[in-house]
């Protein structure tokens, strides 16, 4: 009668070479340029890109916070700075990145606790993220200009 191997640490030592090879052959990332891009994948990669952008923008955000909180003059200076065209555009782009990351992040958290995990709901959620982000991007633009 064949018995199941014991599920303890000792069983690791008795692995065959082939078994070990399978374990060390970890999955390799997909080639991003050869795969299809359904809407869910687009929303996911944009979440990632916005996250990296925000990471790079952290010093800038802190700089503006520091300036605006330092004094009345600093507050005015920060306001004046954001009023010129290029910084204002940058400000809008960062706001859009944050809003997008935040909205897609909420969808992510909802899925983590089990909402909207089917393919259909996943697609609907991804579309909702795009629509909501576009809306808030326009609102942020109206508020800034």
């Amino acid at each position: 009668m064949s018995r199941k191997p014991p599920a303890n640490i000792l069983s690791l030592a008795s692995q065959t070479a082939a078994q070990r090879k399978v374990k060390t052959a970890r999955p390799v990332n997909l080639n991003l340029f050869s795969i299809k891009w359904p809407v869910t994948a687009l929303v996911s990669i944009t979440h990632r890109i916005s996250g990296v952008l925000l990471f790079l923008a952290m010093p800038l955000l802190l700089y503006v916070f520091e300036m605006s909180l330092s004094s009345e003059a600093g507050f005015r200076q920060a306001g004046a700075m954001l009023a010129s065209p290029m910084p204002r555009l940058l400000c809008w782009l960062l706001a859009v990145a944050l809003l997008y990351h935040l909205i897609a992040g909420c969808r992510h958290l909802l899925m983590d606790i089990g909402f909207g995990e089917t393919w259909r709901a996943g697609k609907a959620g991804a579309r909702a993220v795009i629509v909501l982000s576009a809306l808030t991007a326009v609102l942020a633009g109206i508020w800034l200009w």
Binding site: G51, V52, F55, M58, P59, L62, L102, C106
Partner: protein
Amino acid sequence: MVTNATSLGRSGLFDWLVQRFSALVLLAWIAWVCIGVIAMPEFGYPQWRALFAATPMQIFSLITVLSLCAHAWVGVWTVTTDYLNEAHLGRTGTAIRLCTQAACLLLTLTCLLWGARIFWGSG
């Protein structure tokens, strides 16, 4: 080969939880600041400063800075580990990844200390 597949804690589950928890803190803080600004009768320096001056808000902001840095570090660690590796970049992949991660870690720590001073000193 990656032998230690975590960035912050000793397990991937811990990192995963850190990123979720910190996301919620960031969300709460951003919402609170936005509500505070919208509720201001007029937007000026005294009101803006007052928003961050009370001790509970200072603590909240400091926890948010900590969360931001933990979130950002786990995040860029994940991204860099996914792309900057030998499978994508060839033999120098690991060296490139470690250098990039070291730079990201320095930036994160800088923001942590700087952010802590800004918000803790805002009383």
